[in-house]
């Protein structure tokens, strides 16, 4: 996984609440068996219905930060949603809150989920709408989001932060503790089922 330290870029504003992963990546694109190539399908139905949708406006084309409403990424666990956002070119999503599974999925692929207060997010959305070229700086180590005249702090659990800063993938980390897994496994109750037909 790619390491994240500082993300500096422009924003795309999407001031909507409860954007579910069905909207981010509609189901017809979940039939692919690849992990890449989802960017073009991002928000497919919304873009089809509205040629002026934010992603298709030239002034927001190069945006690396999506700024959006509360509970972003609710619903389905499909990792295709963060894959699509990352593939499009986003490196961070800023929102007042996220769906739990979506947030987890983002941190597995180095797409940074940043939670700010509703007021702070509203301020950034206002800035992005007024000045699409406005540059925002997200510093993961300092846990800050800054723009001219704006500074906000965000929370991040220390382990996830360390993992993202170092670009470490979870599987490699867990495999370092295989002995502990084996010890635990040896003490599992005998009545737990297996899927091998009896």
């Amino acid at each position: 996984m790619e390491a994240i330290s500082v993300i500096t870029g422009t924003m795309a504003p999407l001031p909507r609440a409860n954007v579910d992963t069905d909207q981010i990546m509609p189901k017809q694109f979940l039939k692919r068996v690849e992990r890449t190539g989802y960017g073009e399908f991002l928000f497919h139905e919304w873009r089809k219905a509205d040629p002026q949708f934010v992603l298709d406006r030239p002034e927001y084309r190069g945006a690396e930060i999506l700024v959006t409403g509360p509970n972003f990424g609710s619903g389905s666990s499909r990792e295709h949603a963060p894959w699509g956002l990352a593939d499009w070119g986003f490196r961070a999503v800023v929102a007042p809150s996220f769906g739990d599974i979506f947030r987890n999925n983002c941190t597995k692929i180095a797409l940074l989920p940043v939670e700010l207060s509703p007021k702070e997010v509203q301020w950034l959305i206002g800035l992005a709408e007024a000045d699409p070229a406005a540059v925002v700086r997200i510093d993961l180590d300092a846990q800050t989001v800054t723009a001219p005249g704006f500074e906000a702090h965000f929370d991040m659990d220390p382990h996830t932060k360390w993992r993202l800063l170092n670009g470490l993938d979870d599987i490699g980390l867990t495999l370092r503790h295989q002995d502990e897994v084996a010890t635990f496994e040896a003490t599992r109750p005998f009545f737990k089922p297996t899927t091998v037909s009896r």
Binding site: D22, K31, N105, H159, T174, R188, F191, S197
Partner: protein, 466 residues
């Protein structure tokens, strides 16, 4: 220290807990399906890793399968390729598979409990957000993404931050015509689609205790629609009776040991929850979702709300958008909404009890001439059981289509989809824009509400319908 049901199951699965790190949890059962697994298996291959415990994994095919004319094969080349990948991956990595030719094939969240694989006190994961269904037996079950699927395949564990405890207690007797589906729709309407974020919900109280296992599954299933990681119900005699004799359930002396453990799981009397909500059974009515998220739900006797009722501009905007998408106007009575389609199915409501209720209601009646209605059983075994009871004949005589098992029109990854503008009463779990087909309009309801709507062509209050 007094602990909740969730605390006990969590604590019993901690492989490793280092300061400042998430807990590393052991996974007792990993359910796998075709849509969220191919990239995970590819990841294993690229890293030269094996599946640590194929004997704690079970795969089936549910999301992309056609529900009719299966003998003709799968026409959609992408779905066929995805399904072929799963079959090949299961062979290569030694994972048991309930394939398309297996009578036990079905929706992953229907077959786990049906086989008795879903047991109290287990940690169960699956690359699907409705994994919460399995919490009905007192397991901790939650949905994960594909990177996490790969992690579980490789290590049989998952690093997780500990969620908070939420208790939702419902006491009293439900009125006739009010179902488990109405309880969970009513809860989501009250706490909102983000109300459970960061929490595991334990459903408690006499109303929950009086529900069958299948009713409890319906409630736990939709925990994710309130944003919760998981939903749980403490195991009791209803649970133990349900599990008895199922193929993978313990028997004899093994059962005695399991029962002793299972009986220790319910929340201690003085355990504390981070959040507590108390409701009375008579707070609930038959509900119909009118909007584009499951919290946008009102009583069947109600009317479509107005953006003026919103508490803030973002909510007003979301009501506006939902009204436009659903082609409804504020103040419109729910009972006047006319339907084109009815879908009875999904991991929320496609088990045998759901089908029995529907059959009892539509027996001797006819589906409204302007409505096309389909019933999709949750598994091959549910289908067989329904046919043994003659329910299929009731459905067919009433003009319903009777299909093979799968996720079907809950998410429309197979050929079962709504056309643009079509309006559907659905027993599924999500009314998101385009969920059942691009431009399709979904109203979430209980199985009896869907049955009555199929006959009448519009929503009716099942409490006064005959």
């Amino acid at each position: 220290m007094a602990r909740t049901l969730f605390d006990k199951v969590w604590d019993d699965h901690i492989v490793r807990q280092a300061t400042g790190e998430p807990a590393l949890l052991y996974v007792d059962l990993h359910l796998v399906h075709e849509v969220t697994s191919p990239q995970a298996f590819d990841g294993l291959r690229m890293a030269g890793r094996r599946v640590r415990r194929p004997d704690l994994s079970l795969a089936t095919i549910d999301h992309g399968v056609p529900t009719d004319n299966r003998h003709l094969g799968i026409k959609d080349p992408l779905s066929k390729r995805q399904i072929d990948f799963l079959v090949k991956n299961c062979q290569e990595f030694g994972i048991p598979l309930f394939g398309l030719d297996d009578p036990r094939q079905g929706i992953v969240h229907v077959i786990g409990p049906e086989q008795g694989l879903t047991q109290p006190g287990m940690v169960i994961v699956c690359g699907d957000s409705h994994t919460a269904t399995h919490g009905a037996v007192g397991a901790l079950a939650f949905g994960i993404g594909t990177s996490e699927v790969e992690h579980v395949l490789a290590t049989q564990t998952l690093p997780q931050n500990r969620p908070k405890n939420m208790a939702i207690t419902v006491d009293g007797d439900l009125s006739v015509g009010v179902t488990a589906k109405d309880i969970i729709l009513g809860i989501i309407a009250r706490i909102g689609v983000g109300g459970g974020n960061g929490h595991v919900i334990e459903y408690r109280g006499s109303t929950i205790r009086s529900l069958s296992m299948e009713g409890r599954m319906t409630i736990c299933n939709m925990s994710i629609e309130a944003g919760a990681r998981a939903g749980m119900v403490a195991p009791d005699d209803t649970t133990f009776t349900y599990l008895e004799g199922r193929p993978f359930a313990p028997k004899g002396r093994v059962l005695d040991a399991a029962l002793a453990y299972w009986r220790s799981l319910p929340t201690d009397d003085d355990a504390a929850f981070d959040t507590e909500i108390r409701l009375a059974a008579n707070d609930f009515e038959p509900y119909v979702s009118w909007g584009t998220n499951p919290a946008q739900t009102v009583s069947v006797t109600g009317v479509v709300p107005s953006p003026d009722s919103a508490e803030n501009p973002i909510e007003a905007d979301s009501i506006d958008r939902a009204l436009a998408y659903m082609d409804l106007r504020p103040g419109q009575p729910i009972s006047e909404i006319r339907l084109d389609r009815v879908f009875i199915g999904s991991c929320t409501n496609a088990r045998i009890e759901d089908l029995r209720v529907v059959a009892a209601m539509v027996s001797g009646k006819r589906v409204h001439p302007e409505v096309s209605a389909m019933i999709v059983p949750g598994s091959g075994l549910v289908k067989l059981q329904a046919e043994r009871e003659g329910l299929d004949q009731v459905f067919l005589s009433a003009g319903f289509e009777w299909r093979d098992a799968g996720c079907s029109m809950c998410l429309g990854m197979n050929p079962d989809i709504l056309g643009p503008g079509e309006r559907c009463a659905s027993t599924s779990n999500r009314n998101f824009e385009g969920r059942q087909g691009a431009g399709g309009r979904t109203h979430l309801v209980s199985p009896p509400m869907a049955a009555a709507a199929a006959i009448e062509g519009h929503f009716v209050d099942v409490r006064s319908w005959s």
